[in-house]
């Protein structure tokens, strides 16, 4: 099982300049899908996410991800082409993010991609364990070469058997199935270099979006950070960076019931250079990354000509402060 998010987040982040509201996938290959965007199967598999034929359950979006009640198949009809490493490579780099419940991965394919025949679906034998272990047994619903329908083999064995067939196989889709009587919440699925997130798209705001050096470092001031898109209840670690350097803030949070994290950040040092800083939250389990940017500007007092203020001159009068 691989990391949930491909670590190329910075490429997207670098595109962000000066905005306090960030709502972009951290990876260009990421997509955010909610239940209303999931289509239905027609006479053939459609492109994108759809509910497979024979589904009698339901799907709904929640802050934790896609809530699926069986029997339901949720598939993506755009699986891409198989890499040179075949099914083993695909499964090795895939991930099924199960927040709760039971769901099983499945890979529909035509064993003959030229004639679009030989339909079968491969599913891990060990239901209730969403791991995509290519070395474990996978059951095929239809025959694959000499493998009988209903037999179990490793993905390496499938790759070898498929290689003996006269035509290359064709990937049709990938996705999950939740059987009758079961339910599951799926936060994400990573397949063939693309991660689909069923959680809300992460976003973040920093208030204020522009702050002086002094105020960024002053207790009681600092920046109020609001981040969204985490799985409710999960642990989130704070981070700060400005390009030249960065690292964790040392703050840890628990996402609230709506998947939000709010915190105030005060720069801990006595020295700070103006510039654009990114305040981030990184979920330790789901891998969700949300962030906001704040622009730190020089103190107005940097004007050399500004003289030092002199003590106030008291005014004789009646005080009416709260006392």
């Amino acid at each position: 099982v691989k990391a949930i998010r491909t670590i190329t987040a910075g490429a997207a982040l670098a595109l962000v300049v000066g905005s306090a509201l960030i709502a972009v996938p951290a990876n260009a290959a990421d997509a955010y899908i909610n239940a209303s965007q999931i289509g239905v199967e027609g006479s053939s598999y459609p492109a994108g996410w759809f509910v497979g034929a024979g589904s009698t359950g339901s799907v709904a979006s929640t802050p934790s991800g896609l809530s699926i009640s069986g029997r339901e198949q949720v598939l993506n009809g755009t699986p891409g082409t198989a890499p040179s490493g075949g099914l083993v490579e695909l499964a090795t780099n895939a991930h099924l993010g199960v927040v709760s419940g039971n769901a099983d991965f499945q890979i529909p394919l035509f064993t003959n991609g030229t004639t679009h025949t030989g339909f079968t679906t491969l599913r891990p034998d060990n239901f209730n364990n969403p791991g995509l272990n290519p070395a474990a047994g996978w059951t095929t619903s239809g025959p694959v070469g000499t493998f009988a329908a209903g037999s179990s083999h490793t993905l390496a064995e499938y790759d070898a058997e498929l290689a003996t067939l006269p035509a290359a196989y064709e990937l049709l889709a990938y996705g999950v199935i939740v059987p009758t009587g079961e339910s599951a919440v799926i936060s994400s699925i990573t397949w063939n270099g693309t991660t689909t997130w069923f959680t809300p798209q992460p976003s973040g705001t920093a208030t204020p979006s522009t702050i002086t050096v002094t105020n960024f470092m002053t207790a009681g001031k600092g920046v109020a950070v609001h981040l969204t898109g985490f799985v409710p209840g999960e642990s989130v670690d704070g981070g700060i960076g400005n390009g030249g350097s960065g690292g964790p803030t040392g703050q840890s949070f628990s996402a609230d019931a709506n998947g939000n994290v709010d915190f105030t950040y005060v720069y801990p040092n006595t020295g700070l250079t103006p510039g654009q800083y990114t305040l981030s939250g990184i979920a330790s389990v789901s891998g969700v990354i949300a962030f906001a940017t704040v622009t730190v500007v020089a103190d107005p007092s940097g004007t050399p000509s500004a003289p030092v203020a002199t003590p106030a001159v008291p005014i004789k009068g009646t005080a009416s402060f709260t006392g």
């Binding site: 099982v1 990391a3 949930i4 190329t8 987040a9 910075g10 982040l13 962000v16 791991g131 522009t210 002094t214 105020n215 002053t218 207790a219 009681g220 670690d237 981070g239 700060i240 960076g241 390009g243 030249g244 350097s245 960065g246 690292g247 964790p248 803030t249 040392g250 040092n269 006595t270 020295g271 700070l272 250079t273 510039g275 654009q276 990114t278 990184i282 979920a283 330790s284 389990v285 891998g287 990354i289 103190d299 107005p300 007092s301 940097g302 003289p307 030092v308 203020a309 002199t310 003590p311 106030a312 008291p314 005014i315 004789k316 009068g317 005080a319 009416s320 402060f321 709260t322 006392g323």
Partner: protein
């Protein structure tokens, strides 16, 4: 599940490093990209030359705008009703404009004023009040000068927390406030008026020295008369005061 957690945790650490190192800086700190080190040790630049900037009105009235060249949201007369010069604490500056903290409700209000309507002065002193410890700490730039015992608000009339500044200095002619009383840009969260005033928080002396060190006030910060006298002879208007 445990395996996934371990892998995910490791990937998060790497993600932090790459995510943070890849951000485009407006002003790089001049160090080579690093991988996940504590940013608190990452930079070494000189401390700012002041703790803030006071903006003192040089015109009889100042309008406050929602944004540079935006709409007017408030207005303040100079001098103030007490006779003190109208003073703001600058938060941000742009060409011809200053975003300043405002001495009005709600606490923490800011707005934009014309830079031409004020004169600027650097501030070297700052104050920090701890309502938990009933102390006031005076600092000059980054160095603590002295810590004073104070009285702060009771549970029913708490001293509001936040970042404020000194708006005026009175030599009260009425009893209860000691020889000097600074007005703050803070207002009580529970008292909309007090003693004919708008519920403004003050920093002042007292006729009740025994209250010092306790949560005993209606929201104001009380000091001994000697201590407030020392501060009155030292602090400019605009001095930032953080209450936490």
């Amino acid at each position: 599940m445990n395996a996934r957690r371990r892998v995910a945790a490791a990937s998060v650490a790497l993600a932090v490093a790459i995510l943070l190192a890849a951000c485009t800086p407006a002003s790089p700190v001049g160090k080579a990209p690093t991988t996940g080190h504590d940013v608190s040790t990452a930079t070494a630049v000189p401390a700012p030359p002041s703790v803030g900037t006071a903006a003192t009105a040089v015109v009889p009235h100042i309008d406050v705008y929602s944004a540079p060249d935006g709409g007017v949201t408030a207005g303040f007369d100079n001098p103030q009703p007490t006779g003190a010069p109208l003073t703001f604490l600058v938060e941000e500056s742009r060409t011809g404009w200053l975003r300043v903290e405002l001495p009005q409700r709600p606490n923490g209000s800011t707005g934009w004023i014309s830079a031409a309507s004020v004169s600027l002065h650097r501030l070297e002193y700052s104050l920090r009040v701890s309502t938990a410890n009933n102390t006031l700490t005076l600092s000059k730039l980054d160095a603590v000068v002295k810590e004073y015992p104070v009285a702060t608000g009771t549970g029913g009339t708490p001293t509001p927390h936040g970042s404020f500044y000194l708006t005026e200095l009175l030599a009260p002619s009425n009893p209860g406030y000691g020889p000097y009383a600074f007005g703050l840009s803070a207002f009580s969260d529970v008292l909309s008026s007090f003693g004919g005033g708008p519920g403004q928080i003050g920093l002042h002396g007292t006729d009740d020295a025994a209250s010092i060190g306790n949560a005993a006030s209606h929201g104001c910060v009380r000091m001994t008369n000697d201590d407030i006298t020392a501060l009155a002879q030292l602090l400019p208007l605009g001095t930032p005061i953080t209450i936490e």
